[in-house]
């Protein structure tokens, strides 16, 4: 934690960057923190409550942050994949950002988590994590913590449960879940890869996605959101965490990721050179469903 504060102060003092984005302790657990003055660097923290994917602030949808010049951002190994996504889609220039990688021993499932990680409170995306030591960063801080508590993935189990149901039962499940959506767009705002300046869901003439929150509109919105993130979602879990209605959005994201991996052999990666699966194609792509 101390080395993050020192590095942030150094970068700001040397005017290498105009802004450091990290985490700080707030009244309700960890929260994103924006430091422009080296004297404030002491409030930065990095521990197992730092669940937020701060790459979201690098999205071109947030041009006000670009006014600070170069930005340093603290990233966990998994967050680097979101940065790679922005670089891959030329939404960000690598030289505009200083990546401070934080070696990570897993995070709580909420920023309000307390105490050491156990199999119970570990975020599901940390299960089987392969990027605890972040790659492609300008600085990498911290010691590699001991390995994560081990358990099975809960989401994978839930997806398998749902897949065992018939269509009518699955439809009823999602109808029920999505009926709680109030279309606050928190899932979109928090997503590091939702980069459109003007979202399809905001277009009202014609209203491709109805703006009123009823199950029909909500299904169109969440299906479209999942498709627009197909092969782009980095599994940071922020959409589900931000959802005030507790809709299990990660299940949809994980399902689509599994489809993309099975069909196109693509797994989310921190290498921006690997082409995105949607937008690329191969002549031999499977077409068993087309007659």
């Amino acid at each position: 934690m101390r080395d993050l504060q020192d590095l942030a102060a150094k970068l700001l003092t040397e005017k290498t960057v105009g802004l450091v984005i990290g985490w700080e302790a707030g009244p309700r657990g960890a929260r994103p923190s924006f430091v422009t003055d080296p004297k404030d660097a002491g409030k930065l923290i990095s521990d197992n409550r730092c669940v937020h994917n701060l790459a979201a602030y690098l999205s071109p949808r947030r041009p006000h942050l670009r006014g600070f010049g170069r930005i340093a951002v603290a990233v966990k190994g998994c967050d680097v994949r979101a940065v790679a996504g922005l670089l891959r889609e030329t939404q960000l220039r690598r030289e505009d950002v200083v990546l401070i990688g934080i070696r990570c021993g897993g995070v709580h499932d909420t920023p309000t988590g307390v105490g050491p990680l156990t199999a119970d409170n570990l975020a599901d995306r940390c299960v089987g994590c392969e990027v605890r030591d972040p790659a492609r960063c300008d600085h990498v801080l911290g010691e590699l913590p001991p390995s994560l508590p081990s358990r099975g993935g809960r989401r994978a189990a839930r997806i398998a449960e749902l897949e065992a149901l018939d269509h009518a039962a699955r439809f009823a499940f999602w109808r029920e879940e999505l009926s709680r959506c109030v279309r606050c767009n928190a899932c979109r705002q928090v997503c590091p890869l939702c980069v459109c300046e003007r979202c399809l869901a905001d277009k009202t003439d014609p209203p491709w996605i109805e703006s009123s929150p009823h199950p029909r509109a909500n299904l169109a919105w969440h299906a479209t959101r999942a498709l627009h993130l197909a092969g782009r979602c980095v599994d940071c879990g922020e959409c589900e965490r931000a959802c005030p209605a507790g809709i299990p959005l990660n299940l949809i994201g994980r399902k689509v990721a599994a489809v993309v991996e099975r069909r196109f052999g693509y797994r989310t990666t921190d290498d921006p050179q690997v082409p995105a699966p949607i937008g690329a194609w191969k002549p031999e792509d499977g077409q068993e469903f087309i007659r």
């Binding site: 509109a217 169109a220 299906a223 498709l227 489809v259 949607i278 002549p283 792509d285």
Partner: protein, 154 residues
């Protein structure tokens, strides 16, 4: 397609499916035209919307068709390597593949949708796609689960 009309003919008590087709201008639309000028008998349940290319078919079109009362959807374009724009159908194929598995997971039977490649010379194949899809949707019945989502019957 009006939301006020249903596919159910009350007098006969039979279900006539309403099927929306999204086809590309260069192959399937021309193929469908050939089927028509060749006087090949076809089920009258399919309404066609012509688009420049399968690459232009946003999967949201398909959901929109269901929203507006369609019981089934046909999506059809040029065979691979025949795209007028070189690669539109290759791009579309990847999107459709993901879309199909996604809606399956969301509880929509992917059999509601027929994906096909129909070239400009395949009028016969188009008529088979239309007839087979109509028969299949007829057996599946009206898509009332989806139509009921808005809290009213279409």
């Amino acid at each position: 397609m009006s939301e006020a009309t249903t596919g159910i003919d009350a007098t006969a008590g039979t279900f006539e499916p309403r099927i929306q087709a999204f086809v590309c201008n260069w192959c399937t639309y021309t193929g469908a035209d050939l089927a028509g000028t060749s006087r090949i008998p076809m089920a009258p349940n399919v309404r066609i919307i012509r688009l420049p290319c399968t690459g232009r078919i946003d999967t949201l079109f398909i959901l929109k068709a269901f929203e507006r009362g369609a019981d089934g959807v046909i999506v059809s374009g040029c065979h691979p390597n025949d795209c007028h724009y070189t690669a539109g159908n290759f791009h579309a194929r990847r999107r459709f593949a993901v879309f199909r598995d996604l809606i399956d997971f969301l509880g929509i039977d992917p059999d509601r949708i027929t994906f096909s490649w129909v070239s400009a010379s395949e009028g016969k194949k188009w008529s088979e796609v239309v007839n087979d899809t109509t028969e299949r949707i007829r057996r599946m019945g009206p898509f009332s689960a989806y139509h009921g989502l808005a809290g009213r019957t279409p």
